[in-house]
């Protein structure tokens, strides 16, 4: 291997190899342990470093098109696979199932992707059985060669069938905790959980029929052969995006109880919401086989005893919660999904212990008083455009700038209409400065357009907005800016269809499905935490923004998957089927089988996973170029930060 003249080098190398191996092992273990210490797995909150860098704003290149120019012989309006500072590493078709949430867990010495599906049915490649959609488990240890391990179908208790109603089907949300991380009340409990991994998932979505929906905990220690451990919250309806603190066991389940249910002693009927009818049902699942109910909670005005006009929020009753995220002693709760958005900052300890004190009302846990609803609340705010935008994801970013604390929330709404519905808002993503929690402030507004934020994706492929007119939301003074009512809406002629052939401009609003924001990543992993906003933009694909200077965010990357035209086989091949991307229909019957990026998540290796709502599958993506440089903080030659851009992800002790 080495020439003789390099004998000394060889001897030196051999002598230090054990040291290198041990060091590498220690480093890798250290990285693993470090990654596991962040929410939701651990309690340590990373500390981001924000700066005033005046970095070059980049113009995203236009995506690749199936037909560069529409013509009588080329009428495919869809985007082809398009990469900007990203690279596709791996792919799995997920058997063509519509997928909501991806979650990748470092499980022992493997990485397991838990892909949570919307309602539906498809053929399981492993047993060739047509199964109601549930959760797909994929080994992504080698991201270039994912191995499909199993599909856990939707549990039949909610009555879903492949030829009957699917309204109650689907297992859209998933969290996983390790038994070694979850706390234990006894040595016996710790021994029982040692080495085990547990998956919490929603079961059923919105049948509106109490008794048919629930949450479930599965033992996924052997991810190829999971076993159902416990059904929780049976009798629920409208389950949605949960959060599970692995270090404490506390699980914030999103659901509702329509009426009193005899099957669930924790049923808390009578909660009131506008829009999506769901609130928080909080349990401690430190011992997943023995759930401990804590309380129900939501936005003031949603409690069962509330009467009259809501004292906070935009509507009566206030809009339902989409999902919470907890970090340190805070809970960030987003309400409204895609309209009438409100965000709430809560003192976690007061939420969890508010009904335990001697002064708590007798039925505080299930039906708190107004004062008990308000007691944990530290701040709240509405979103720009008020009624036009909703609270979907509220991801906290704790940081410092110039030696002083600066804390942010990365917020998203959810686009709801296909093909940029005329009169609806282009749903957006925002950054809020919540350093003063009682007075949140909207930052990163586009100075040229108060209706827009700088984290945006133009709908034209030439990076120009088309068809946007000023919004006129209702008066409101809680959105952290002077232009609460301003939010652009799509004008009546925004959606040029692909007829007449050859004359219509092609754009993201012409793909049959939704174009706009849906969600952000929710895990706190370095190195991207506090440096990048990583977002799922439906037909716009994966979008990455550099937020190291949060007052001047800039686009640095995107990835738009190719539609699956081949089939639902393990590698997207033809076994079986002629292509798996499900069409969506926009205006005037315009039906397109285009991609529909629904959710995005990162793992502790810095890989990005996106899930497709239209059944296109799972894509594993690596950042490259300027996106990787921004995410790793190693491009400080291009800013005025004087080399201080690489210190995030290792700070602890945030006092929130």
């Amino acid at each position: 291997m080495f020439p003789n003249k390099n004998k000394l080098f060889r001897q030196t190398l051999v002598s230090v190899l054990p040291t290198i191996s041990v060091s590498a092992g220690a480093f890798l273990f250290g990285a693993y342990a470090l990654a596991q210490s962040y929410p939701p797995y651990g309690p340590d909150v990373p500390l981001a470093h924000f700066d005033h860098g005046k970095r070059q704003h980049l113009t995203p290149p236009p995506p690749n098109l199936m037909c560069p120019v529409l013509s009588p012989t080329c009428q495919d309006v869809r985007t082809a696979q398009s990469e900007w500072n990203t690279e596709l590493l791996g792919y799995d078709s997920l058997d063509g199932r519509s997928t909501y949430q991806p979650l990748v867990v470092h499980q022992g010495n493997r990485y397991i992707a838990y892909m949570a599906h919307h309602a539906g049915c498809a053929i399981n490649r492993l047993n060739l059985v047509n199964e109601v959609n549930g959760t797909s488990l994929v080994d992504v240890t080698d991201p270039q060669h994912p191995v499909y391990l199993t599909h856990i179908p939707n549990s039949p208790s909610d009555g879903a069938t492949c030829t009957g109603s699917l309204d109650a089907a689907g297992n859209q949300m998933v969290h996983v905790c390790g038994g070694d991380m979850l706390p234990s009340n006894s040595r016996a409990e710790a021994e029982r959980k040692r080495g085990h991994f547990y998956m919490l998932r929603t079961n059923g979505n919105a049948s509106g029929q109490p008794g048919t929906e629930s949450h479930e905990v599965w033992d996924v220690t052997n991810p190829k052969s999971p076993t159902l451990l416990k059904t929780i919250d049976s009798g629920a309806t409208n389950t949605h995006k949960d959060w599970w603190e692995c270090y404490s066991g506390v699980a914030y389940l999103v659901a509702n109880d329509g009426t009193a249910s005899s099957v669930n002693p924790e049923s808390a009927p009578g909660w009131q919401q506008s829009g999506s009818t769901q609130h928080l049902k909080i349990y401690n699942l430190h011992d997943p086989a023995n759930p401990e109910y804590i309380r129900d909670f939501g936005f003031v005005g949603q409690q069962p005893t509330a009467t009259g006009n809501a004292i906070e929020g935009l509507v009566t009753p206030p809009t339902g919660i989409h999902g919470p995220i907890s970090a340190g002693n805070r809970i960030y709760a987003a309400y409204g999904v895609g309209a009438n958005g409100v965000v709430q900052i809560l003192d976690r300890n007061k939420v969890l212990n508010g009904c335990k004190g001697p002064g708590a009302s007798p039925n505080c846990a299930k039906s708190p008083t107004q004062s008990e609803m308000l007691a944990p609340q530290l701040g709240w705010f509405t979103l720009p455009g008020t009624s036009l935008q909703g609270g979907h994801t509220s991801f906290p970013i704790y940081g410092e700038e110039d030696g002083r604390p600066r804390n942010l929330i990365l917020m998203t709404s959810e686009e709801g209409g296909n093909e940029c519905t005329a009169g609806s808002a282009p749903h957006g993503a925002w950054l809020y400065d919540v350093t003063d929690e009682a007075h949140p402030k909207y930052i990163a507004e586009d100075p040229n357009d108060p209706a827009r934020t700088m984290m945006d994706v133009p709908n034209g492929f030439d990076n120009k907005w088309i068809g946007i007119v000023p919004g006129n939301g209702v008066p409101d003074n809680h959105c952290g800016t002077t232009n609460c009512s301003q939010s652009g809406i799509y004008g009546a002629t925004v959606t040029p269809q692909d007829a007449p052939v050859g004359t219509a401009p092609n754009n993201f609003c012409n793909q049959g499905a939704r174009f706009g924001i849906h969600s952000s990543t929710e895990l706190f992993y370095p190195p991207y935490y506090g440096r990048l906003a990583i977002l799922a933009w439906f037909t716009g694909g994966l979008r990455v923004f550099d937020i190291r200077n949060p007052d001047q965010p800039r686009a640095v990357g995107y990835f738009i998957p190719a539609p699956n035209d081949n089939g639902c086989g393990p590698k997207g091949g033809p076994s079986p089927g002629p292509g798996c991307t499900m069409p969506n229909t926009g205006r005037d019957g315009h039906t397109v089988n285009a991609i529909h990026t629904n959710n995005v998540e990162v793992d502790d290796r810095g890989l990005i996973y996106i899930a497709d709502r239209a059944g296109t599958g799972m894509h594993i993506i690596k950042l490259t170029g300027q996106a990787a440089a921004a995410g790793n903080g190693n491009d400080h030659d291009h800013d005025d930060d004087h080399g201080h851009g690489d210190d995030n992800g290792h700070g602890h002790g945030n006092d929130h």
């Binding site: 309602a119 049915c121 030829t163 769901q278 709801g416 081949n566």
Partner: protein, 135 residues
């Protein structure tokens, strides 16, 4: 072959007219198109052309077309918000497949019927135009 196209078109529009006539309450909401003639060479496509858009429900489609190859309901919080879709697989031989796509509206009635060739663009056989939902 070309001689069959007018017959198929007539069938589509005839069925559409029938369904509208039988459901006058919603007739004003529906318009009908047939974007391109589809040759009914296979049984699933023939059956698909019998679907009464705006009237047929899931049980009707199950009776007409059998069990679907794949289904999806990607509603998030409100299952009735976006409806669902069923797909049928057509084996055209020589390793080629196509799909019949049947979408339902929030009332559980068929809103779109399309045929998708392998790697191709969906051809809408019929659709029911609805007022757009917003939230």
């Amino acid at each position: 072959m070309n001689a069959r196209i007018p017959l198929i078109l007539a069938g589509v529009f005839g069925l559409a007219s029938l369904s509208v006539a039988q459901d006058t309450e919603v007739a004003s909401l529906f318009t009908w198109i047939c974007t391109s003639p589809v040759q009914a060479q296979d049984e699933p496509t023939k059956q698909a052309l019998k679907i009464a858009v705006g009237r047929d429900t899931r049980p009707d489609i199950a009776r007409l077309m059998g069990a679907p190859w794949r289904t999806s309901n990607d509603a998030d919080c409100e299952a009735e918000e976006y409806g669902e879709a069923w797909e049928y697989l057509i084996d055209e031989g020589d390793g080629k497949f196509s799909r019949i796509h049947v979408a339902f509206n929030k009332d559980g009635k068929v809103s779109v019927v399309a045929k998708i060739s392998q790697g191709g663009k969906p051809v809408v056989l019929a659709y029911a135009a609805e007022k757009w939902h917003q939230h």
